[in-house]
């Protein structure tokens, strides 16, 4: 590039050098960077609104469901511990706020609505978790799908997010649109301010009866399919409740 900040492009006719401004390329980079900054600004406004509205709402027991002898699935990299919740505590997830979002600014602005939690995200079946995980159709992936079930107990106590959203929508009409369909396995570490779905998740579990373990929510990858988000104090607590085994499903291996 020349001292005047221009980009040189060799011409395919005649061999001389044409000159093209780099301003367009830089402008596109700035546009994309601004896109992320705009999202942060939107999140701050949405969070403030949601916190105000949720402070007037009460948790309803009608949102609770019991799931009998559930078997869920979770896909992780081959070197990862399938029941490790430390990653979600640092990065955050769809319904839990992690260290990446819980900045001093967010904590100051959102108060009790901004609490870090560790969580484990599971899918209803192996095909769903592969699509959620994102390596669908990649034969070189070495990630492994595990089945996850309860160690000793028979039932899991969950909040049905659809029941909660339908009920809360009468008081917060924009709630469904705000919560949206963010990815369960998205790269939450890039999100630097709590998203509405995370604030709602925090509010739900903080206001639910003590024995409530998580949230059941629909997957965006298969009509009628479900995922669950289970909250834990730490990985040790997670391993006290759950056990995991590598899944040998041939239908999964073929995906």
């Amino acid at each position: 590039m020349g001292r005047d900040g221009r980009l040189f492009i060799p011409s395919d006719r005649g061999g001389g050098w044409l000159i093209e401004s780099v301003r367009q390329l830089k402008a596109e980079m700035l546009r994309l960077s601004a896109h992320f900054r705009d999202q942060d600004r939107y999140r701050q406004a949405a969070a403030k609104y949601l916190v105000t509205e949720l402070s007037h709402c009460t948790f309803e027991k009608a949102w609770l469901i019991n799931v009998d002898r559930p078997v869920y699935f979770r896909r992780v990299g081959q070197h990862r511990d399938v029941l490790d919740t430390a990653g979600s505590l640092s990065d955050g997830g769809r319904f839990n706020i992690g260290g990446a979002q819980a900045s001093s600014r967010a904590t100051e602005q959102l108060g009790a609505f901004c609490g870090k939690r560790s969580a484990l995200y599971l899918g209803e079946n192996a095909a769903i978790v592969r699509m959620e995980y994102g390596d669908f159709g990649m034969p070189g992936s070495t990630a492994i799908t595990h089945s996850v079930s309860l160690k000793r107990r028979a039932k899991l106590n969950l909040i049905d997010i659809e029941a909660a959203l339908n009920s809360l929508a009468s008081q917060i009409p924009d709630l469904k649109a705000m919560v949206g369909n963010a990815s369960m396995n998205g790269k939450w570490v890039d999100i630097k301010y709590p998203m509405p779905c995370q604030i709602l998740g925090h509010w739900l579990i903080a206001n639910a009866p003590k024995k409530t373990e998580g949230i059941r929510f629909p997957t965006t990858h298969a009509a009628g399919g479900w995922n669950v988000c289970l909250f834990f104090a730490d990985t040790r607590a997670c391993k006290q409740l759950l056990k995991a085994a590598a899944s040998n499903s041939s239908s999964v291996a073929a995906l």
């Binding site: 830089k26 596109e28 980079m29 890039d190």
Partner: protein, 134 residues
């Protein structure tokens, strides 16, 4: 960056499997391939030209010399991401470039290409390394 890139390419760490650049030093952007990849991913040429910051006629030329540090700092991770995806698709170029150029739910609706241009390639790279078991 120049030194790091050169050392990396010498060691074979950056292969540029998708030939985003003409040279191993990653200075001469292969605009012809940029255009081809856009077509594979179904991106209109005019849209692609805006995204890589050149005029539509320029996209039909062979190469663009990239020496601006800010631009290189974002294009080099794109090359690395493409290399890792190429391994995951076991050498299938069309699937690789389609993945790189397509909006992805993991990146909240941005394509890996756009993540790289936005300076957010790190999480994409980390994800691909995890999938490869690296």
């Amino acid at each position: 960056m120049e030194t790091i890139v050169n050392r990396s390419t010498e060691r074979g760490a950056i292969k540029d499997s998708m030939r985003w650049f003409h040279d191993p030093g990653l200075t001469r952007l292969n605009t012809r391939n940029v255009k081809t990849y856009g077509k594979i991913a179904g991106k209109p040429v005019s849209r692609l030209a805006a995204e890589v910051g050149v005029s539509r006629p320029k996209l039909y030329q062979d190469e663009a010399l990239i020496t601006d540090k800010e631009i290189r700092d974002r294009l080099v991770p794109l090359v690395i991401i493409s290399d890792l995806a190429f391994e995951l698709f076991q050498g299938d170029e069309a699937k690789t470039i389609n993945w790189v150029m397509t909006p992805n739910h993991l990146f909240f609706g941005q394509s890996p290409f756009e993540m790289a241009l936005a300076g957010k390639a790190r999480s994409v790279e980390d994800t691909l390394r995890e999938w490869l078991g690296l």
